[in-house]
């Protein structure tokens, strides 16, 4: 090769192949395909599971491109940012860095790797701003924060690659929208940019590529979708109780099967025990130690609210093979390559096929190795779910991730971000934003509305108003000039998800983790709760911190996190129904799980029926709590939530009535003090899919759901300020409650775009209107079986004991109050 001549494609790829051979490996076809495509200047989406070597698929071509552009780079490295690797979880950044550095070291390429996440200390960030590493590993939030840095276009100018890892995780969330917007800007400021996503298998991979690159964009035209197609063998085994009679009908902890887990732990080197919620994780960890003190020091816990250092320590310990088991939540779902994990235990239904496969894939985490996963059902009916899961690993049936549309809250945040750094020209930004998937259908009016919202805080200028956020400068640039506004906004960028978190800290100092505020608010001084594997006594709240001390007192409470409530996907629901229908088959044609459930089905049949494929079951009975009306569509929690709301609304049109609603993944309940005539419901065809959208809109329940959605919208769009948790900065005079704000909008400005967004999100993402319609159409073809029962049935039990409830009423407010007070003052019966 002559001096200064650029090496050809084959020569470059040869270097990568040689490295693989030096490790005793052969590159997979998908890896080579990705190298070729990247080096040909293509954008794309790589569909490859965790642990398949996907990092090497994209990391090599990034390096090879550098060597091609600058053949003398080894002697004369070029400064400046070259590539950005975006990961949804901070926990993954260390792992990616290690993989990356291993190759740069072996190939002797001077290519520095830096991490920038919420955990990165301030001095390090400042250093990065002065001199960017060659590869920056970061999160979507931290990338946004970089866009809030004055002079950011210069930082980004030399960047030629951005890789969005675990894109499927971001796709169906607002962080995905944040990423779309970030990419729309990068396309303009990085002239040579290639955009690549990495996604696990989901139903809508083609759409995932379109969202990543922008519909109708040049990037999409010049892109490719590469599938790894590694057929990894997965074995699923259900843990069944010895005697069905002792199996709980409800509950979500699964502790009755604790001893069944022990032989599994003993047999394998390292086991990951996945739980669905952080509270469940805490309890399992505690109970394992309580029953088997010999495990002390050999087991650990990992979830998103635990202190970062502890989490890192746990991850390192897994790699060193010094732990027998780790009890964890979805915090260990993604990425990190833990070769020593041999076995995975899933406690409770994972609620989705993709998630289950991902978790199963955690074991035998090397290409070609078998993955083994044990399923531990937490209550009887979940065994049906187990049977369904067995089938998912055999066939296909992976769910879609639905991308958000018109998330004006995220756009408002993004525009403020641009205004905080260098300011933006509305026309230029409009062109970029309109090319994203999320905002492809945004109207000109909506855009103007948003600009007014940022500059005026409303749609018209009032003389007495002092609204101050974004200002319109003389040259047409929109910019934040107020330092306080800029500071508050930067703090707020990270908070795209959920509830207010409080820091849990020892009174004498020492950070333990974070807990959602609503949990702490239930505690009185002196209450004991379990957190991070410790029994802690609550002292008091100070400056967004919950102060605690260690205690030997027995724990009364375990924090739970609202975010932990999952629903069944459409695919999973269908598999579940099919399994359930097999209850009527002869035992030899049933799965092991369904056979084990025989006693439950027998009890169910003594009061009611186990529905078959052509049947839709309705049960009614009375208890002290009121009249229970149960419906079993087996469609997953969200669809049931919507269906319950719809049906109760339609019933309430017949006569004034108030319901309280409950639902789980199998069915839903309408509870009232009045009995509903089911015959009347059927005669009036109240389960009809006709006028669905209209009726849903009118069901009061939608307002309650929208109220919950609004909480995030208000925070993301900067309408409310959550303070600076963790920073010890008090901004109490600016803290307001999004609930209060919701009411103010409802009363004063119901056409507000962000208020409206709460409703559209409710319909599209919460109520899953599309799925609801399909479910109703299916029910319309079934025969309705109505059973008036004497007492609660096994099917109904998990639902009627649910304490998280919604309301729907057609009575006048005043009448409701009068009736409620009457009920309270009714003399007690002797």
């Amino acid at each position: 090769m002559k001096e200064g001549e650029k090496p050809g494609l084959e020569a470059l790829v040869g270097q990568a192949k040689q490295w693989f051979r030096s490790q005793g490996w052969e590159p997979f076809p998908f890896q080579e395909q990705t190298w070729q495509a990247f080096l040909q200047g293509k954008h794309g989406l790589l569909n490859a599971p965790t642990g398949s070597g996907k990092t090497y698929a994209l990391w090599f071509p990034i390096l090879l491109h550098y060597l091609r552009e600058f053949p003398d780079a080894r002697e004369r490295p070029r400064p400046g940012l070259k590539a950005i690797w975006v990961t949804p979880l901070r926990a993954l950044s260390q792992e990616i860095r290690q993989s990356a550095e291993r190759i740069t070291a072996d190939l002797e390429i001077p290519f520095s790797v830096g991490i920038r996440t919420g955990d990165t200390p301030q001095p390090e960030r400042a250093r990065q701003r002065k001199s960017m590493p060659d590869l920056l590993i970061t999160t979507p939030e931290s990338l946004q924060l970089l866009l809030a840095t004055p002079g950011y276009p210069k930082l980004f100018n030399s960047c030629y690659a951005v890789v969005v890892d675990e894109w499927h995780e971001l796709l169906g969330s607002k962080r995905g929208v944040q990423m779309e917007l970030g990419l729309s800007r990068m396309k303009s400021v990085c002239p040579a940019l290639r955009i690549w996503g990495i996604s696990a298998t989901i139903g809508n991979l083609e759409q995932a590529r379109e969202v990543l690159l922008g519909p109708g964009s040049e990037a999409l035209q010049n892109s490719t979708l590469i599938r790894a197609r590694l057929n990894k063998k997965i074995t699923v085994k259900s843990l069944l109780p010895d005697r069905m009679e002792t199996f709980p009908w409800r509950g979500h902890l699964g502790l009755h099967l604790l001893e069944a887990v022990m032989p599994i732990l003993r047999e394998s080197k390292t086991t990951l025990i996945f739980t669905n919620t952080r509270s469940q994780c805490e309890i399992w960890f505690q109970k394992l130690l309580e029953h088997h003190p010999e495990l002390a020091g050999e087991i650990a816990m990992h979830h998103g609210s635990i202190d970062k250092d502890t989490r890192l320590w746990v991850e390192q310990a897994i790699r060193r093979e010094s732990l027998r088991a780790v009890v964890c939540t979805s915090s260990l779902d993604l990425g990190v390559d833990f070769a020593p994990v041999e076995t995975v235990v899933q406690i409770g239904g994972p609620k989705g096929v993709a998630r289950f496969l991902q978790r199963a894939g955690r074991s035998g985490h090397r290409p070609g190795k078998e993955s083994r996963i044990y399923f531990l059902p937490t209550h009887a009916i979940e065994l049906v779910e187990a049977a369904a899961l067995q089938r998912t690993v055999e066939g296909e049936g992976v769910e879609d991730r639905i991308p958000y549309l018109n998330s004006f809250d995220v756009l408002a945040q993004y525009l403020t971000t641009l205004a905080v750094s260098d300011g933006f020209l509305p026309e230029e930004t409009y062109r970029e934003v309109a090319q994203t998937f999320c905002f492809q259908a945004m109207t000109r009016d909506q855009w103007e509305w948003l600009l007014n919202f940022l500059v005026l805080g409303s749609q018209s200028l009032q003389t007495y108003d002092e609204y101050k956020k974004v200002e319109r400068l003389g040259n047409g640039i929109l910019k934040v000039t107020n330092r306080g506004v800029a500071m508050r906004h930067r703090f707020q960028i990270g908070t795209i998800v959920g509830d207010t978190d409080l820091v849990v800290r020892y009174q004498k100092g020492g950070y333990i983790g974070t807990i959602e505020e609503w949990f702490i608010s239930q505690l009185q001084q002196g209450d004991v709760f379990t957190f991070a594997g410790r029994n802690l006594e609550f002292i008091r709240i100070r400056e967004m911190q919950a102060l605690v001390r260690n205690t030997s007192k027995k724990s009364g409470k375990v924090p739970s996190w609202m975010g932990g409530r999952l629903t069944l996907s459409a695919q999973m629901s269908q598999l579940l129904r099919e399994e359930l229908y097999s209850a009527s088959l002869p035992p030899e044609q049933q799965s092991e799980e369904i056979r084990a459930l025989a006693p439950l089905f027998e009890w169910q049949r003594s009061e009611s029926i186990v529905p078959g494929p052509g049947e839709f079951l309705i049960e009614t009975f009375k208890t002290r709590e009121g009249c229970h009306h149960l419906f079993y569509p087996f469609e997953g929690r969200f669809v049931h939530e919507a269906m319950a709301s719809l049906l109760s609304y339609r019933i309430s049109l017949l006569s004034p009535i108030t319901f309280s609603l409950a639902y789980n993944d199998y069915g839903f309940e309408l509870l009232s003090d009045q009995e509903v005539d089911i015959g009347l419901v059927l005669d009036n065809d109240l389960l009809s899919p006709l006028y669905l959208a209209d009726d849903l809109q009118k069901s009061l329940n939608a307002t309650e759901m929208a109220r919950r959605k609004f909480r995030d919208i208000a925070v993301i769009s900067g309408l409310v300020f959550t303070g600076y948790p963790n920073k010890g900065i008090k901004m109490k005079h600016l803290q307001s409650n999004s609930q209060l704000l919701f009411e103010v909008f409802r009363d004063c400005e119901p056409d507000h775009l962000l208020f409206q967004q709460a409703f559209s999100e409710t319909f599209e993402h919460q109520l899953e209107e599309g799925r609801l319609r399909q479910a109703l159409e299916r029910i319309a073809t079934q025969e309705v079986v109505w059973k008036a029962c004497e007492s609660p049935t096994p099917f109904s039990f998990p639902i009627i004991t649910d304490r998280l409830r919604e309301k729907l009423s057609s009575e006048k407010l005043a009448d409701r109050i009068r009736r409620m007070t009457r009920a309270l003052t009714r003399p007690k019966k002797r």
């Binding site: 805080g457 108030t658 309408l719 600016l734 103010v744 009363d747 004063c748």
Partner: protein, 218 residues
């Protein structure tokens, strides 16, 4: 639709917007308006709707027209914060107001009382009138009957079928009456009634007396 109540030997009218009218003295009692709060938030970049601000003034004007009181007594937290332009709106309103204005100073009233006095508003830490002691904070010990604000009281109601409802209310415990917050952007605090307490819920366009039995937990 108002609700008439006997308290301290006097007849008081409870209005569903959360104000008290003492007809014999032609006195309208209003608590925790928090004028200026909307503008304060807006000034710091939180776009609370301006109509919430306007609603406070519009409702005050409606009440003045309906009751035609000789005097209006504010039970504290009249102006939320430091001076901002909403003060100008308030000044105009106060100057044009046909009734005499009085203010019991509250914790949010951090502006100098001289500003209020310049608008002809009488200020004080508390006022005594007939059987009543008007204060911002509910008093622990007092003679006669105490009418106070500050708490923004609300009650939570539970019905059969696990029904729940939360409403702002007038709240009476012994010789003390707590008036709900008037302001449109103020929020509320749920009180747990004890035996003998009485609550009057604001339910849209009506005030509804809840029974003496505790409407909260049994």
């Amino acid at each position: 639709m108002t609700h008439t109540l006997e308290f301290g030997g006097e007849l008081l009218e409870l209005h569903p917007w959360g104000v008290l009218y003492w007809k014999r003295e032609s006195l309208l009692i209003v608590s925790d308006v928090h004028f200026g709060k909307v503008t304060h938030f807006r000034k710091y970049g939180a776009a609370v709707p301006q109509k919430a601000l306007e609603r406070n003034f519009i409702r005050m004007d409606c009440l003045l027209q309906d009751f035609r009181p000789a005097r209006v007594c504010f039970l504290g937290d009249l102006f939320h914060s430091h001076l901002n332009r909403e003060w100008d709106l308030f000044s105009q309103w106060a100057v044009g107001c046909p009734a005499a204005l009085e203010l019991v100073l509250g914790n949010h009233d951090i502006l100098s009382p001289t500003r209020y006095e310049a608008l002809g508003i009488r200020c004080g830490e508390s006022f005594r009138e007939g059987p009543f002691l008007f204060t911002h904070y509910p008093m622990d010990a007092f003679e006669g009957f105490n009418i106070a604000g500050h708490i923004h009281p609300a009650v939570r109601l539970k019905g059969p079928g696990k029904e729940r409802l939360r409403l702002p209310c007038f709240f009476i415990r012994g010789r003390q009456l707590i008036v709900p917050a008037f302001g449109a952007f103020t929020g509320s605090h749920v009180l747990e009634p004890r035996k003998g307490d009485r609550a009057f819920a604001l339910a849209g366009e009506a005030v509804i007396a809840l029974d003496e039995a505790a409407p909260g937990r049994p």
